[in-house]
Amino acid sequence: MILPAIVIIFIFNYIPMYGVQLAFREYDFTKGITGGEWVGLHYFKEFINSYMFADLMKNTVVISLATIILGFPAPIILALIINQVIWKRWKKAIQTTVYLPHFISLVVMVGLLNVLLSPNSGVVGHILATFGWDINLLASEKAFVPVYVLSDIWQHAGWNSIIYLAALASVDPQLYDSAKIDGASRWQTIRYVDLPAIVPTMIILFILSMGNILNTGFEKIFLMQNPLNLPVSEVIATYVYKIGIISNQFSYSAAIGLFNTLINFVFLIAMNYIAKRFSNISLW
């Protein structure tokens, strides 16, 4: 019964891993992936020495770090707030609303940004104009990262809060009772009962997100790119796509992709190690 799944995973996940050797070979259209001349680290050197390298690394790291630093606490804060809502129906209504944007597809999401932020006809454009901020958020180098990160939080913070709400729901009610007997205010209950309860969940999710630090959302960045914001929006993933699929430089592109995966892997292992050292919680 498990055979079909093994076959699928083997073909579509493991064969491409074998194909990674392409990064060390000269791709030859007539001989396939493994037929080309062996060139060693040639393509890696070419990438590291290329004029794009510094910009790509900087953009990728800036976007990822901003997403983590701002995006990681957002669902936690949201879950703590929702958890404090006493009135059941209000709680339900707000949960229903904040989960909803998660189901909007990325294309529609970026489309939404385009129509709402448009400087001539969008609502946000109008609001900014009344405050005297004459800025085109879609085409500005300065605004790209904030727009990217904030819209990401808008879309996913609600959905990501579910897991924290689930953790909060499993807190032993006796803890609340004893906190109350000890005279804890509600702020103190959050601080000393709720927060510690979700710390393990936080650490696991944090390690996982660090592992993805360079895997910034290809699709969304790609869709948000335009010639005016390109200097800050070109990241490794979009570059791999352009070099590989559009310009057909398969070997060079595979090398950049592998470089990306390796750095991700190092981050994941490092974060896991640190978490294990300090809290005994880890992925493996």
């Binding site: 064969i15 944007p101 597809s105 294309v107 489309g111 109008h126």
Partner: protein, 300 residues
Amino acid sequence: MKLFSTKGKTKSDIAFDTIILILCVFIFLLVAYPLYFVVIASVSDSTLVATGQVTLYPKGFSLFGYQEIFNDSRIWIGYKNTIIYTVVGTFVNLLFTLPAAYVLSRQDFKARRFLMFVFVVTMFFNGGLIPTYLLMKELSLINNMWVFILPFSVNVFNLIITRTFFESSLPKELFEAAQMDGCTHFQFFGKIALPLSKAVISVVGLYYLVGHWNDFFTGLIYIRDYSLQPLQIVLRDILLSNQVFAEGAGSGGAAGGYAQKYADQIKYGVIIVSTLPILIIYPFIQKYFEKGVMIGSVKG
């Protein structure tokens, strides 16, 4: 939440509740207003929307945008393709995932630890875009509808959720009892395990379904053929590349002005039309959300 009853509230508690309430109203508006705005903008006069006169309710009501959308053949092709990919794709996903998860949940299956490792590795390490692309090319999956369905038809994350559910909800004794009555693994799986697992099947099915519906990447990379494009690619053309009229006016002249005038209304309408199916099933699936996360978080 019984702890915080209305009786015996102190001043600081009341202040606290007020702050929470204000925050909630703020968050609610922040999330809901943009969605509401799209709805009213899609049935309002584009000029009034563009000049910022539409804020709380539609003005200059017209359904022109929707008319244009329903007359656009691309939307229909995209819709049809995406529905096919989503239905067939989700079916294949479940067909592969459920039996595999069942096998991995059996303690008596010797290779389970090893196979689990083989599956989990793929969550952290992959061949990357180019080797995958070349593989699809060799399998002639490029410009082929099966590229939406077969590759990655087993999602390891969903597999783990399902396995965990089977492990925790199908007690060993149940299988032993069934075996005494001469039940094989296949019979047990089909007649006992599946009917008992509706919760996890709906959750995982939902994850797969939404994934297929929103899939943009596959169409972008592997499909060149116009008639095979999924809805998301069509949406990109309309929403982001400004190709508002497929068989209509180009740019410039009176026709260009006309196109520009209605372009925004069409965009708002397209956002609604393409998100509608999700909005329709949303109330029915919502109750499964928390259940799904609970199932999945029992054991990573």
